[in-house]
Amino acid sequence: MLLLYLPILVVVVFSFNANTTRTATMTFTGFSLQWYKNLFDPISGFGVHLVTSLEVAFWSVLFSCVMGTIGAVGLLHRKKQKSLSGRSLERFINFGEQAAMLPIMIPELIMGIALLALFSFLRLPMGKITLVIAHTSFCIPYILITVKSRLSTLDPSIEEAARDLGASPIRAFLTVTLPLAAPAVLSGCLLAFAMSMDDFVISFFVNGAETTTLPLKVYSSVKVGVTPQVNALCTVMLGAAFLLVAMGQLLSSARGKEKKI
């Protein structure tokens, strides 16, 4: 258990190191905030990469949330189709569901290479668009899982009642199903957002020269050696991650209490 936190602790401790010599990452000489000062420096800082990461995560979560949520609705309560077109639609959607779940089942490396190959075949220049397409693809399964499991616990008669009272399918979805599924959609989105911000392997293959996301920047900085500024960056990222987890925990425990009342 302690071992789980040992490497994290090392990173945090060394981010406050006062030592500025070449051995800055090896010997701790005193407390200082020097590595934090130029963290967001426009030239050597990490601000640009953070913005890139946030942008990619925003669009990917948006696309995957819309497709995943209405996809989960469409997959639920499938009725056996009789007509030929209906059957082929059913078959296509079954296949689509299987394909949509693949990105979290196979090694990320394969997804990265497959997308890189596809993008170069389509002559799509590597950049934000390719990153968003890739991230959307691996975010969909997370949304699909959470929303589908929530929808399957809902009583289908509620929606049927709305339909019987004259609501169109779209209105019934917007006013009845969606509000009931909203907590699941939100937690799916949070998970997808975290996965997108955190992704390194797939982004590694489909990023462009101008679109280095934060994890990619961390990788290129630590690949060559140990750089003290990265310690500061990592500590900030760690803090943000812990804050998010704590917030999620608070939210869910608050919701749990509501339910009890």
Partner: protein, 286 residues
């Protein structure tokens, strides 16, 4: 009757955008690299005809075989170490009081929410020749001169076990938690000692979750490349590193595709064996 049929179809149309997306960017992308793996290398980053098996035959060279064996060995050792460390941990967590349990689970999950690169980077800092670990060991008098820790196979193993252990602990924990405690009690009442009760009741009954956890740790371990990159340097060329090299350094797309297809096939074999042993996809979700 007509309206219900139309409704059913209209409903399915909602899943159409997602299906089209997945077919285009997942299924077709995967099929495309399978196809590419049988083509020859073209100009630059392209592939060209004729159809050939050369990409697969090339893998028979010692360097590739060695790397494949090393990858499989490390993935196997990773899963094994995760099991040896993770099972007792999961068991311990499941047996604590609910309040402590919540906190322990958060502590296990929290590192999982932080970027894997950062955590691996922490190990790198620790392992460096005159880094904290060697300094501590030297001053304690355990060793006389600094150990070579970084850029060894062991360092890679430590990093991989470390990155994968949450994937082992969580499913096994939920497996132990689901276990009906009265069955264990019954075996104790019938005279089994605690050790015997564990080995004849608890362990066999939580085996499905252990199996799922082993798959969850083994599959990603074969494909990881950044851990061996950071902690193993050029000494440990795993399959993932070979793929990355062929793709980005040699820019040989068909060969990199063929290497990926091998990895994909391995993944499918592991999943098929898992299904055969009676594992279901459900115990893999926790």
């Amino acid at each position: 009757m007509k309206t219900t049929r139309e409704q059913g179809r209209g409903r399915m149309l909602a899943a159409l955008p997602m299906s089209i997306w997945a077919v285009l960017f997942v299924a077709l992308a995967l099929l495309y690299i399978i196809g590419l793996s049988f083509l020859s290398r073209g100009e630059g980053f392209d592939a060209q005809l004729p159809i050939t098996f050369d990409n697969y035959l090339r893998m028979a060279a010692p360097t590739y075989l060695k790397s494949l064996l090393l990858s499989l060995r490390l993935a196997f050792l990773t899963a094994l170490c995760c099991a040896l460390l993770g099972y007792p941990l999961a068991y311990f967590i499941a047996k604590t009081s609910p309040r402590v349990r919540t906190w322990l689970l958060i502590l296990i999950i929290a590192p999982f929410w932080t970027n894997a690169l950062i955590r691996i980077y922490g190990w790198k800092t620790l392992f460096i020749a005159n880094g904290p670990l060697n300094t501590a060991l030297l001053s304690l008098g355990i060793i006389e001169k600094p150990l070579r820790l970084l850029y060894t196979e062991k360092a890679v193993l430590v990093g991989m076990v470390y990155a994968m252990i949450p994937f082992f602990v969580l499913p096994v924990y939920s497996g132990i938690e689901r276990l009906d405690g009265s069955i264990v009690e019954a075996s104790r009442d019938l005279g089994a000692g605690p050790v015997r009760a564990f080995f004849t009741v608890t362990l066999p009954m939580t085996m499905p979750s252990v199996l799922a956890a082993l798959v969850l740790t083994f599959i990603p371990s074969i494909g990881l490349f950044f851990i061996s990159d950071l902690l193993g340097g050029s000494n440990t060329m795993l399959w993932g590193n070979v793929i990355q090299n062929e793709l980005l350094k040699s820019r040989d797309l068909p060969f990199a595709s063929a290497l990926s297809v091998v990895l994909l096939t391995l993944t499918c074999i592991v999943l098929a064996v898992y299904r055969k042993l009676g594992g279901d996809a459900e115990s893999m979700v926790f």
